[in-house]
């Protein structure tokens, strides 16, 4: 049971991060799924490789939660694609996600850097 709970936490954490990344990408303007993958890859210097198996469920979940909205539009190369757009509620969520993320980074950072001499390695 304990294992399962831990696993759940991990999933939640990753989910939260992916949601935040997607919402941040959409802050720059409406984008389709492929565009989001490319944007994240570019911005992260090829480090973040989002799995489509995570991206699309996340997008659809965000839409159901009302944080993004989608419309079918033509791309510049005349390809019909589904564009996602961040909603005001999504922006609020992004702000809160970002706050949480910063706290986590700070907390992890304080664990990792403040007392390096006490670690085993």
């Amino acid at each position: 049971m304990a294992e399962r709970e831990q696993y759940k936490n991990r999933v939640e954490l990753l989910q939260g991060t992916l949601d935040m990344l997607i919402l941040q990408t959409l802050q720059w303007g409406p984008q389709h799924g492929y565009g989001i993958v490319q944007a994240l890859r570019l911005r992260s210097g090829d480090v973040l490789q989002v799995e489509t198996g995570s991206l699309y469920p996340a997008l659809h979940r965000l839409e159901r939660q009302g944080w993004v909205q989608s419309d079918w539009k033509q791309t510049e190369s005349k390809q019909r694609a589904r564009y996602y757009r961040i909603t005001p509620r999504g922006k609020k969520q992004l702000a809160s996600d970002l706050g949480r993320w910063e706290r986590i980074v700070e907390a992890i950072g304080s664990v990792m850097y403040v007392k390096p001499e006490e670690s085993e390695s």
Partner: protein, 878 residues
């Protein structure tokens, strides 16, 4: 984007597919732009994207619980379970279908009669029928035109008020005269009902009382269809009614048949189309009281307020014209579903009781099916426990089990729906052709479909949810561990099973009792003496006045008919009347006995009939005092009257009625005889005063009454021919033995006993199979225990007693409860019985004996089987 959360599922799937395709296309395009060959680009993009179906699958999970798919899975599972036990499925579906059909059939009859009192009319709930004087069964038209006008113009509570009077008439001008039912109506008649013409127009206000040289007439849809072949140019054409030319001005819409529930009008004309009824239009009593009145309440006005309003008005009228308004003048209002005018008075007394019976049958069936379901769930405990331990929660299990019940009840409902489309039309069978244009039948419309849905839902809940709820409470671990110990499913289930059997016996007892009472009522009615001898009597109606013959012609033809028919071989007596008793009709008139002071509000209405010489002789009605009519009591002679015992006693108690005078229609009649009481309408009526007038003085309709040797039906062609020899165009109708006509009076007793009998048979079968099933099942479950008992020395008789006692205990409790229930239910039907009390001890005890004996038999067979088992094999068996 969430308009149709479940039904949009396919569309969402398609969109997701397109979204993924777009993703791949863009990826390929990018790769190609970077210099890859299209083939390699495609492969790379696909590799990078990953497993497309998997992505689709996990993405669609995000759309929320797809309840439709889940539901589909549950339905498929339920169907699979039901298919596994076809015996149960077929039995349960059939039983439920029969029970639901019993309810929906009676309901369709109620729907076709009481709920649609005036087919085609707008918002019949706002319509009320007006009755003046005592509320009574099958009243006569209560208002004069002038009284009606006063009420119509001075009231503050009605949006509209119509009046009508109807009668037979003949359509002449064709090869053979055709008898049709015609209504004289006020100009606002169609307007108040909310009916629009399909062709032409209806009457204008100024035409209401205006006589016309060529009167206007409106055709019913069916007459237009059948006689005039739906001629689209019919408006403006001239036809002939009773040898008068009339002009067709409009056609009523399909389905509309007039304002009196259960009767069919074919034609409508204004109140005094020929100007021959001027007297009627300008007087307030006697023959001028001829109109039935229906009002439409203003929105928001209650029946009480309206009755108050009219009562006040009527009081003013009575004060202004006291001589025209002796007797009771209080006004009562009835909604159309139980209006005493037309069929609904009878319907309202009969059909709700039958629906209550059908409801009991449905409950009984549900109890039976619930028993079967419970036994099934108990035997599936292991399967349920395994599913539970694999993670199914209790809600899911209950939903699954309830769903099986719902599938059953939906199937039964569908079956019942199919059956009801046919059974709803069987209502008309109960009404033999009579002297009225009766159109009574069930109707199969959305109300009935909704009704069936409600009955099915109820059945599904009762026989699915209850056992499901009980079964799901067993803890999985216990069930899996203790497989054999509590084999009958624990004491809780055992109690529920017994309870269900008790319910079945308790419900079937009142059904049997009521049907017993109804059957004995029917037998009593058939054997009862109506006070007249109706064997060997043939009656035939000759439509003289309705065919437009003049008064003098009518007198001549009547004499000729008398002579011709008397000369026929085998004919013993020929007489005339204008009314046949026990045909659900009567004529009523206010009569003012000379020297009699009525009590306040005492109704002075009497029944009357106009009969000729030898009428009493041919019906064997004894004349107690004075004399019978003679052929000399004609228009030249002084007006004479024969009263019955009831009238004599009421108006001249302790005096000699002979020579006394009675004022009717403003004329004085002298009593020359007193006849013995006989039945007028129904066997169980309370006697109403009856006066007979001489046919050749006051007779209106011409009904020939022929007393024959042998079977009267054999004389029908000869009688008809003899009349046609006088004048081939004479319309002759309703030629039939009197016994056939008077059966109309027991139509409702026949309906009641037929249905109650069928319901009771179903109830008996269900109760007996129910108790047999449960006792057999429980005995089988106790095989092991019985084996042990026998091995320890219990005798076969002990075993027999053990099993029998258990069944008899249930039966006893069921009978006791059933008796209490029956006492309540029979009170409902007390009014419908004849010659037997609602708690008739003979019927009660024979019904209890019947049920007890059948239950005993049902318990004996399993007990006998248990007794004969070999203890050794019994112990080995689990």
């Amino acid at each position: 984007m969430k308009w149709f959360p479940s039904f949009g599922f396919q569309r969402r799937k398609r969109e997701l597919q397109e979204e993924i395709d777009a993703h791949l296309h863009m990826a390929i395009a990018d790769l190609v732009a970077r210099g890859e060959t299209p083939e390699r680009a495609r492969q790379a993009a696909a590799r990078e994207f990953g497993n497309v179906p998997l992505v689709q699958d996990v993405t669609s999970d995000m759309w929320g619980q797809n309840s439709l798919e889940q539901f589909g899975r549950d339905i498929r599972y339920a169907l699979r379970q039901l298919r596994k036990s076809p015996g149960f499925t077929i039995t349960a579906t059939t039983m439920l279908a029969v029970a639901i059909c019993a309810n929906s059939t009676v309901f369709s009859w109620i729907d076709g009669t009481m709920l649609r009192p005036i087919p085609g009319a707008r918002e019949t709930g706002d319509l009320v029928s007006l009755q003046r004087g005592e509320r009574n069964f099958s009243p006569v038209p209560p208002f004069s035109y002038l009284d009606y006008r006063d009420l119509r113009e001075q009231n503050h509570t009605f949006a509209g008020m119509l009046a009508y009077h109807h009668d037979w008439i003949t359509l002449t001008g064709g090869a053979q005269p055709e008898r049709v039912f015609i209504a004289n109506v006020t100009a606002n008649y169609f307007d108040v009902l909310g009916i629009k013409p399909v062709l032409g127009r209806f009457f204008l206000a100024e035409e209401e009382t205006r006589p016309d040289a060529v009167p206007n007439v409106i055709l019913s849809y069916s007459l237009w269809k059948t006689r005039y072949a739906a001629d689209p140019a019919i408006v403006g054409k001239s036809i002939e009614i009773a040898r008068h030319p009339v002009t067709i001005i409009g056609v009523a819409p399909e389905g509309f048949v007039g304002a009196m529930p259960g009767l069919r009008d074919d034609l409508w004309v204004t109140l005094d189309p020929l100007g021959t009824d001027a007297w009627r239009m300008t007087h307030r009593s006697g023959g001028a009281v001829w109109l039935n009145v229906i009002g439409r309440l203003r929105p928001g006005v209650s029946h009480g307020q309206a009755a108050q309003d009219l009562d006040t008005l009527m009081h003013h009228i009575v004060t202004a014209y006291p001589d025209d308004h002796l007797g009771d003048n209080r006004i009562t209002l009835d909604p159309m579903w139980r209006s005493p005018f037309g069929a609904n008075g009878f319907m309202a007394a009969t059909l709700p009781v039958l629906l209550a019976f059908a409801g009991v049958v449905l409950l009984l069936t549900c109890a039976n099916v619930a028993t079967l379901t419970l036994v099934r769930f108990v035997s599936r405990r292991r399967e349920l426990a395994i599913r539970q331990s694999l993670g199914a929660n209790q809600i899911q299990l209950i939903r699954q089990m309830v769903l099986e019940g719902v599938v059953l009840s939906v199937a039964s409902g569908a079956l019942a729906l199919a059956l009801t489309t046919w059974t709803s039309k069987t209502f008309a069978w109960f009404f033999r052709a009579g002297s009225n244009p009766t159109t009574l039948n069930g109707s199969m419309d959305h109300n009935v479909v909704i009704g069936i849905a409600v009955f099915s839902l109820l059945a599904g809940i009762l026989c699915g949810a209850l056992p499901a709820w009980r079964s799901s409470h067993a803890p999985a671990v216990e069930v899996l561990k203790a497989e054999s110990a509590s084999i009958s499913g624990g004491s809780r289930n055992r109690k529920l099973l017994s309870g269900l059997v008790v319910a079945q016996i308790a419900l079937s007892l009142p059904l049997l009792l009521c049907s017993g009472l109804f059957l004995r009522t029917l037998r009593n009615l058939a054997n009862a003496n109506p006070g007249f001898d109706q064997d060997h009597i043939l009656t035939a109606t000759v439509g003289l006045n309705i065919a437009g013959y003049s008064h003098d012609e009518v007198q001549v033809i009547r004499r000729k008919i008398l002579d011709r028919l008397s000369a026929l071989p085998g004919v013993k007596v020929v007489s005339f009347t204008d009314w046949v008793p026990m045909t659900l009709t009567h004529k009523g008139e206010d009569a003012y006995p000379e020297g009699y002071v009525p009590h306040p509000h005492e109704s002075l209405q009497v029944y009357h009939a106009e009969v000729s010489a030898q009428y009493f002789e041919s019906l064997h009605i004894p004349i107690l005092e004075g004399r019978e009519f003679t052929p000399d009591d004609d228009e030249r002679a002084p007006r004479v009257l024969i009263v019955d015992k009831t009238a004599a006693k009421r108006y001249w108690p302790g005096q000699d009625p002979l020579g006394k005078k009675l004022r009717i229609w403003g004329r004085f009649f002298t009593v020359v005889g007193v006849a013995k009481n006989s039945t007028h309408m129904l066997m169980n009526e309370s006697p109403e005063p009856m006066v007979y007038m001489s046919f050749f003085q006051e007779g209106y309709e011409t009904i020939v009454q022929v007393k024959t040797e042998g079977n009267p039906a054999d004389f029908a062609p000869a009688v008809e021919n003899a009349i046609h020899e006088i004048d081939a165009r004479l319309p002759v109708f309703d030629v039939r033995p009197m016994r056939e006509s008077t059966q109309l009076a027991s139509s409702f007793a026949v309906i009641q006993s037929t249905l109650a009998g069928m319901f009771a048979a179903v109830g008996l079968v269900l109760a007996v199979t129910g108790i047999y099933g449960v006792v057999a099942y429980r005995t089988q479950m106790r095989t092991h225990e019985i084996g042990v008992r026998m091995a320890l020395g219990a005798s076969r008789v002990d075993v027999l007693r053990l099993v029998l006692l258990q069944g008899l205990w249930i039966t006893g409790v069921g009978l006791a409860l059933g008796l209490a229930f029956a006492m309540g239910l029979t009170r409902l039907i007390a009014r419908l019985l004849y010659g037997i009390g609602a708690n008739d001890p003979v019927t009660v005890s024979s019904v209890v004996m019947l049920l007890a004996t059948m239950s005993l038999l049902a318990c004996y067979f399993p007990a006998h089987r248990a007794m004969r088992r070999n203890p050794v094999t019994a112990i080995r068996e689990l």
